[in-house]
Symmetry: C2
Subunit: 227 residues, 2 copies
Amino acid sequence: MSRCEQCIIREFSSLKALTRDELETISETKTHFIVRKGEILFLEGDNLNGVYCVKSGFCKLTKLNSNGKDTIIKLAKSGELLGQRSIINEETSNLTATALEDMQVCFIPKKEMLDYFSDNNKFSLLVTRDICNHLKDADKGLADHTHKTVKERLAIMLLKLEELGGVDPETKSLNIQLSREDLANMVGTATESCIRLLSDLKKEGIIQLSGKKIILVDKAELKNLAQ
Amino acid sequence: MSRCEQCIIREFSSLKALTRDELETISETKTHFIVRKGEILFLEGDNLNGVYCVKSGFCKLTKLNSNGKDTIIKLAKSGELLGQRSIINEETSNLTATALEDMQVCFIPKKEMLDYFSDNNKFSLLVTRDICNHLKDADKGLADHTHKTVKERLAIMLLKLEELGGVDPETKSLNIQLSREDLANMVGTATESCIRLLSDLKKEGIIQLSGKKIILVDKAELKNLAQ
DNA sequence: TTTTTTTTATGATAAATATCATATATTCTA
DNA sequence: TAGAATATATGATATTTATCATAAAAAAAA
């Protein structure tokens, strides 16, 4: 199994603040596994006994609504740590993580995370900053969902998907390919409304569609919509 | 000016983890002031040079939307610290704080907060947990705003206002009295829609209204609506 | 491949919510 | 206190968005 000291992915998260000694200890205790597309990493309400480090692939983090629908709260890609909040607060997870494509994931036990959080100041600062960034995004999302139209939120989401996953250099289409249903759940609208608005954007020449592939043609106009 | 060592309010925030020495230092450096109803503590985009400790009164934390409207992201009451995220992330504030009634506020400089964050593990853990709780609330709010109707969100908000500010023991009306406009901005709807739905709830015997005073009569039904 | 299932697409319609208009009540201010 | 300004209330209407229905396209399974 690969060693954390040699894993480049750690440079993208708070783990970069760990010392060589700490990384070696984590290497001994961590486990590594594959999650297939559609499989669940953890469920809302689960007691997490550690954090998940996404090595490759990406997943959606959702919250189950009383009407049985999932709301996608955010997406996570390689380099991100999942479950930090639950570990720090010693609470069950408030979100469900589901793979949107095959993923490689490492699991780092709670004990090590909490030990280093108290012993390594640089690490705890980075962990807290990471959580702060999530909070800032959530505040922004809340404001957007409160006063923006569905079309505006769709524009925001398309730009966010590009930022998060980038585009295929050949086809220029978004690397993150969501079903219309998932996209609708991120935007916070009905699937049909989402499809309809995508069609509108296509008719207006702002995006191109072919199957799940989406190309952002007129990004200036998208940004204008997103404001 | 009152000394932090003797201030009971600190027991309600992460400040309770500070040592006597640390509290004494803060007492020397902190400033204390009054913010009148409607006045602004800080603006979105402001560079905060410390955190604000709410000693009495409460305020709204808002985000300016591109359409010029404010979205109320949350309310803060006595005992809460404002501006922690900005200090930790060394970023400008992402929210505007406006007093909803006269407030007493202490300002604790950035330097002390950051020093104790690195030196006092108990303190940094509590600060991080506080931020984690805000994140959890924001995730919940995002899910609610995504799939719930305006009436359901109004019910949620009324219950939240009771939880946050309590009720007058005499009249049983909510202590936190918001304008219909502010309430609408928290729920995420038009002022008129908010007024209409309050009237509906009144007709259904779920709440009582007289001016800004709101009495939650049938809390079971409200909770049922809030789900 | 053929069949079945799922996803995407689009029209028709219903429901929810926003906007505009206006009246009344309340609060503020001179 | 009177008058002005603001907040609350409610009707009429417009707009947005969701739901239902159905068809075409794509993907999965036999």
